[in-house]
């Protein structure tokens, strides 16, 4: 493999801000991406994640703050002089060029010799599993092939930073999963520092070394995927990742007290706190909090139950086989290891 970039750069965003009039679309974002890692910038549409990416690329000047690669500020460099390459939501293949001319575009802009361009293009097409596609017209490609050519075109220049702006969002569900794996494999192989913008939490969790959840222009939590699921920092993070159970209460001496009774939460600071537990972590057992099953939604791989525990609704996910019937009395166990207390 000869396509490793000259050096994958670490990325540091400091107080990065973009305002349009009084609206702060990106509001003081701090983010560190270690060299060679793939970090997902996750968030609902309109949260400022694409705006952030465009500022990293140099396509949009920040209102305030700094973007640094390997500790050196690039904020004054125009897009074409930054060591970045970017793949957009639309493949944006130049329609007047062949696949080879598209992939070789960045090298031609750098005045690389023709023979070298040809060799590098072939190498990149191999990497994205489209060997021999050089002479195809852009219009002959399928959506997945287009995005693979687009990825090859970005990687051919040996960028230190690769920016992906929802590159898979316009593909069919099945293809999206295949492409996700391809992106992950190619990124590992090339070793380029990558920021992947997506609104799809499953995609972010499957792909990334780290996930930065962005809400309303700020990074709400930046952690390993598993930590976001299991140790959300705020109620909003837990909600974004499908959390449904939030119970207001008070912590005194490592014990949470609220509508569901008492739950041991070792290490949690005293004061008001919201207890949360993922629906799939709630167990149905012989003893525990008594509840009545009120509704059940069949979801194929699982059933989502709503149980009434003395006036408090608890959401539970169980396997389809052996699920309790509607109106059945059950006992809910909340394993302490799965319980988290959140502020606010």
């Amino acid at each position: 493999m000869t396509s490793a970039p000259a050096g994958a750069a670490s990325i540091a965003l400091r107080e990065l801000t973009k305002s349009y009039g009084a609206v702060r679309v990106v509001d003081g974002v701090d983010l560190d991406v270690p060299a060679g890692q793939l970090v997902a910038l996750l968030g609902p549409s309109g949260c400022g994640k694409t705006t952030t990416l465009r500022m990293v690329a140099g396509l949009l000047p920040p209102t305030a703050g700094d973007v640094a690669f390997d500790g050196r500020s690039v904020v004054r460099l125009p897009a074409e002089r930054r060591p970045v390459a970017m793949v957009f939501q639309k493949s944006l293949l130049f329609p007047n060029m062949t696949v080879a001319a598209n992939v070789g575009f960045g090298l031609r802009m750098r005045r690389v010799k023709r023979a070298d361009v040809r060799a590098r293009v072939a190498e990149m097409l191999d990497l994205v599993q489209l060997p021999g596609y050089e002479d195809r017209r852009v219009g002959e490609l399928s959506g997945g092939q287009e995005q693979r050519v687009s990825l090859a075109r970005a990687l051919v220049v040996g960028p230190q930073v690769l920016l992906l702006d929802e590159p898979l969002s316009q593909l069919d569900a099945g293809l999206r999963v295949d492409m996700r794996d391809l992106v992950r494999r190619v990124q590992r192989e090339v070793g380029v520092t990558t920021v992947f913008v997506t609104h799809d939490q499953e995609e972010a969790v499957a792909l990334a070394d780290g996930v930065a959840l962005m809400l309303d222009g700020r990074i709400e939590q930046y952690a390993a995927p598993r930590e976001l699921y299991e140790r959300p920092a705020t109620v909003r993070v837990a909600r974004f990742f499908g959390g449904r159970n939030f119970f207001a209460g008070t912590v005194v001496g490592g014990i949470w007290r609220g509508a569901l009774g008492e739950v041991p939460v070792p290490g949690a600071p005293d004061g008001p706190g919201t207890l949360t537990i993922r629906p799939e972590a709630v167990r149905l057992g012989a003893q525990g909090i008594p509840a009545i099953v009120r509704s059940g939604d069949y979801r194929g791989t699982h059933i989502r139950l709503a149980a009434d525990a003395g006036g408090t609704e608890v959401c539970i996910v169980v396997p389809p086989t052996g699920a309790p019937a509607l109106g059945e009395r059950v006992c809910l166990e909340l394993p302490p290891a799965s319980c988290t207390v959140l502020r606010g």
């Binding site: 140099g58 897009a79 130049f94 802009m109 750098r110 970005a154």
Partner: protein
């Protein structure tokens, strides 16, 4: 069969309508004697061609002058239209509606009224009676059309391609050459054709600013028409019609392409 009829009949009518006006022109060109009520000239001659071919007719000079002016107007007009059309088609800015209206103003206001005012300025700055002055005044009716065409081209243009090129390392000039220009070229060709045609057939503005010193083909034509030499006037008309027809043939593929952004003039 019915399909071929529905295609052939209107096409033939269209061609007929386009070509019939040329028939009397050709006949007048070669007519030595053609009196009422004869349908065709009684006597034929090539005198008019000899008159035009003679150096004293100034036709060659007029052809060169007309070509220089029309090509320059098309080139300068396209440069202005390219940037103005991009601004109007791609970007939102304060006062866009006012600019759009002002762009159209020269088409709405009679050119003559504007030129009478301009002429005073041109005389002061030494532009009267010069080719440069005529080029400038031809731009007045040309720029609105060129800008309109380019604005509709850019209204359907995806600036994402330019951003993609930039993040792949293309500088501003490289972006223009490799991405922007190929994308807008069909529209630009049509705009250039319009500019050329407007300048080529302009008479009043050329006369006022050129003061009869800058003699383009239309000016020569009017001189022959006034001189009552119908045969020479008809021959000269054919000379004037040929170059635009040639250009039209060259740009026809841009005009008739179904994916052409110029069709219907977009949303402006």
């Amino acid at each position: 069969m019915s399909r071929s009829v529905t295609r052939v009949v209107p096409l033939s009518l269209l061609l007929l309508g386009l070509l019939v006006p040329f028939v009397p022109l050709v006949m007048w060109t070669f007519a030595a004697e053609w009196r009422f009520p004869a349908i065709v000239p009684q006597q034929l001659t090539t005198r008019s061609l000899h008159v035009l071919a003679a150096p004293s007719s100034q036709v060659l000079h007029g052809l060169v002058t007309s070509t220089v002016i029309a090509v320059t107007v098309a080139a300068v007009g396209c440069l202005i239209g390219l940037s103005a059309g991009r601004a109007l088609g791609l970007y939102a800015f304060r006062g866009k509606r006012v600019v759009q209206f002002l762009m159209l103003a020269p088409v709405i206001v009679p050119g003559l009224a504007v030129t009478l005012g301009i002429q005073v300025l041109f005389i002061r700055y030494g532009l009267a009676d010069t080719v440069a002055g005529v080029v400038l005044v031809h731009l007045v009716p040309t720029v609105p059309y060129v800008t309109l065409v380019m604005a509709s081209v850019f209204a359907n243009y995806d600036i994402g391609y330019e951003e993609q090129a930039r993040v792949l390392g293309a500088g501003p000039l490289q972006v223009f050459r490799t991405v922007t220009l190929p994308a807008v070229l069909p529209g630009l060709a049509v705009a250039a054709l319009f500019a050329f045609l407007i300048s080529w057939s302009e008479y009043i503005l050329t006369l006022l600013v050129g003061g009869g010193v800058v003699r383009t083909l239309p000016l020569l034509l009017f001189a022959y028409v006034r001189g009552n030499d119908t045969a020479v006037a008809a021959a000269l008309s054919l000379v004037i019609v040929l170059p635009p027809l040639l250009l039209l043939g060259l740009t026809a593929r841009f005009l008739t392409r179904t994916d052409s952004p110029v069709v219907g003039f977009g949303r402006v």
